[in-house]
């Protein structure tokens, strides 16, 4: 049976998020690596984010990745001030001048993402959304956040989640049909996270913790677990990297139990130095109370560390069962899990673990799967405004009417902008030819179908 290979369709993607470099984090990393791999596949990628301090305007990153740092000041936790219609002119200008075919928004907590997706949908562009985090249902903040998400996802073409748990969470929060949601996990840069050249001796077991020391990441659990483990296993040492409001509690725990020589606090660790901290240890401890995916344990496994983690969110989906020990987010269970991990250590070969992670996770695979999502989004039929408004109307008794009003005003604003600055007056940007785009891709050749 011969399989027909379609001609590689070259997409022009606009990635939108409030979270991008020079800020550092999981979403930023994901955006950058995904963009680079998509560029290598031959697509054009443009990133839109808000300005960071004096960094405004257009910047070019590796591989010709164009980044628009739009001069909207962030107001709360790196988010742009939500004005609903304020970003329409600049989003419209960028969509037209870059000849974008699909808009890809990231992170439910990004106001710029929600606004850009709304404007892109009104203008008729195909839209994809990726959710990176898990959210609750009960507290006031989550309720409002979920309503905003429901608004955005009412009209999105496709959605991507980073784990099956995250997919379930997103579908429940937004009411999106599950068939529209794809699951594409994050990946890790295996070239950056390699095990230590020489294997560490097992006379002293070193347990590494690298995370933000906040409630959500289970810093309070660490305060209970560390003294107990130090008492039960005299040859165990801890290295804690990271900073946050809970650091004070950990320092107090250290003082109270006289563990200054057994617990080393490094403070904030820049991402570029994370590998050098990881290779100092045998075991990686993750005590998060909630995680959609958890790239940290992936990075640790890539460096050859055995992982001990809380069984929350998407964590059980990340690593194979033989290289992770899971525990309930309860101090006793975690102490037992650490004991089990110490007994498992002799069977672990860091290099074998690294090679396995390299084969299981790669950003090129993520890019190829994302490309399929873009193909699906582009093959969705165009719907007129009335059909789309009916979907918004179904969002709630009061919310539905409000959403319809917002979209109608947006539609009118779009036509006003067309009169004020017609699309033919917006100059399209010429494509700057770079070497990688000239290389012929092996799968871009059309073969016959039978």
């Amino acid at each position: 049976m011969k399989i027909a290979m379609a001609v590689q369709r070259r997409h022009r993607v606009l990635m939108v998020s409030d979270f991008f470099y020079p800020n550092f984090g999981g979403v930023e990393n994901h955006l950058y690596y995904l963009s680079q791999c998509l560029l290598e596949l031959g697509h054009k990628v443009v990133v839109m984010t808000h300005a960071y301090g004096t960094r405004t305007g257009v910047r070019y990153m590796t591989g010709g990745l164009k980044v628009y740092y739009v001069p909207w000041k962030p107001f709360l936790m790196q988010n742009t001030l939500p004005t609903i219609y304020g970003t329409f002119p600049i989003v419209r200008t960028i969509l037209i001048r870059e000849k974008i075919s699909v808009v890809h928004g990231h992170q439910a907590f990004s106001t710029l993402c929600h606004e850009a997706l709304m404007h892109a949908r009104i203008m008729g562009y195909k839209v994809v959304f990726t959710d990176h985090s898990l959210y609750g249902f009960a507290d006031v903040g989550s309720i409002h956040m979920n309503k905003v998400l429901q608004f955005t996802l009412s009209d999105v073409n496709q959605a991507i989640c980073v784990s099956h748990t995250s997919k379930e969470n997103t579908v429940l929060r937004s009411g999106l049909p599950p068939e529209k949601v794809f699951m594409i996990p994050n990946a890790v840069d295996a070239a950056m996270f390699k095990p230590a050249e020489t294997r560490l001796s097992r006379e002293e077991i070193v347990i590494v913790v690298i995370s933000r020391l906040v409630y959500r990441k289970g810093a309070d659990l660490l305060v209970e677990v560390i003294p107990e483990v130090c008492r039960l296993y005299p040859n165990v040492r801890f290295i804690i990297g990271g900073d946050g409001p809970k650091r004070v509690r950990l320092e107090e725990m250290r003082e109270k139990n006289s563990l200054q020589d057994r617990v080393e606090m490094l403070g904030a660790v820049p991402h570029v130095q994370v590998r050098s901290v990881l290779i100092r240890g045998h075991i990686f401890l993750n005590s998060s109370l909630t995680e959609a995916f958890c790239i940290a344990i992936l990075e640790a496994a890539c460096c050859g560390l055995l992982t001990v983690s809380t069984r929350v969110g998407g964590v059980p989906e990340v690593l194979p069962e033989d290289i992770i020990v899971l525990a309930e987010p309860v101090p006793n269970d975690m102490v037992q899990a650490i004991g089990k991990a110490i007994r498992l250590l002799p069977k672990i070969d860091p290099q074998v673990m690294h090679d396995r992670m390299k084969s299981l996770y790669s950003w090129h695979d993520v890019a190829r799967r994302t490309e399929l999502v873009y193909d699906c989004a582009l093959s969705c039929s165009d719907e007129n405004l009335l059909v789309r408004l009916s979907r918004y109307f179904a969002c709630g008794v009061w919310a539905g009417k409000l959403f319809c009003l917002v979209m109608t005003l947006d539609y009118l604003l779009w036509h006003l902008l067309e009169l004020w600055q017609p699309s033919k007056d917006i100059e399209e940007v010429p494509d700057i030819a770079s070497e990688s785009l000239h290389e012929e891709m092996p799968w871009s050749v059309e073969t016959e179908a039978i």
């Binding site: 305007g57 628009y68 600049i90 200008t93 960028i94 001048r97 600055q421 100059e427 010429p430 770079s434």
Partner: protein, 192 residues
Amino acid sequence: MSEKPISSRKYTYIHDEDDTGFQSIDSHHIMVPKSRSRQFLLYSSFLVLMAHVCSLLLGKEEWRIVFPWNSLTFVILAAALHLRSIEKESVLIMPTFGVQLETHYRSGRICRRFIPISKILKPVLNECVTPTTCYWSLVLILRGDKELTLVFQELQPPLEMLVSVWKALCTAVDGDTTTDCGMEVDFRASIL
């Protein structure tokens, strides 16, 4: 010797090369056509506004004091508009000597700035991003200057016109006929 002018909706670009004098001067002009309908609309809307204000105040006794002030405001606004109205912006390139940037206003006022050729590091086509829009501009990077110098201070001509001026500036600054800026950019094919 002049090339055929390029016109867009708002601007006209004229390129002149004057070889008659001691040294050849390469002139590039961006003209703003006088839009009579725009001016008429602007002035008449001001008249209507002032007339309305006057009619409101005519019922009161203080109109004798208010009316002159209204007229004065109108005169000042109209004068400011007229003074700021631009006729054309020019770039005169004198090879091996320097570049003169000129702004000609309709009132007759001309703003000139001369930049010696040795001070120019590179002419650059820059994308300016504002909170509401993004447009191309031609700037000069000057030695010892942290700020970029705009070639066209007031006008925002289209990319096609900027490219011609940019190529001429590159030639003058580099001192040779090739315009190599490290990347192949096929502007014409993409625009036309």
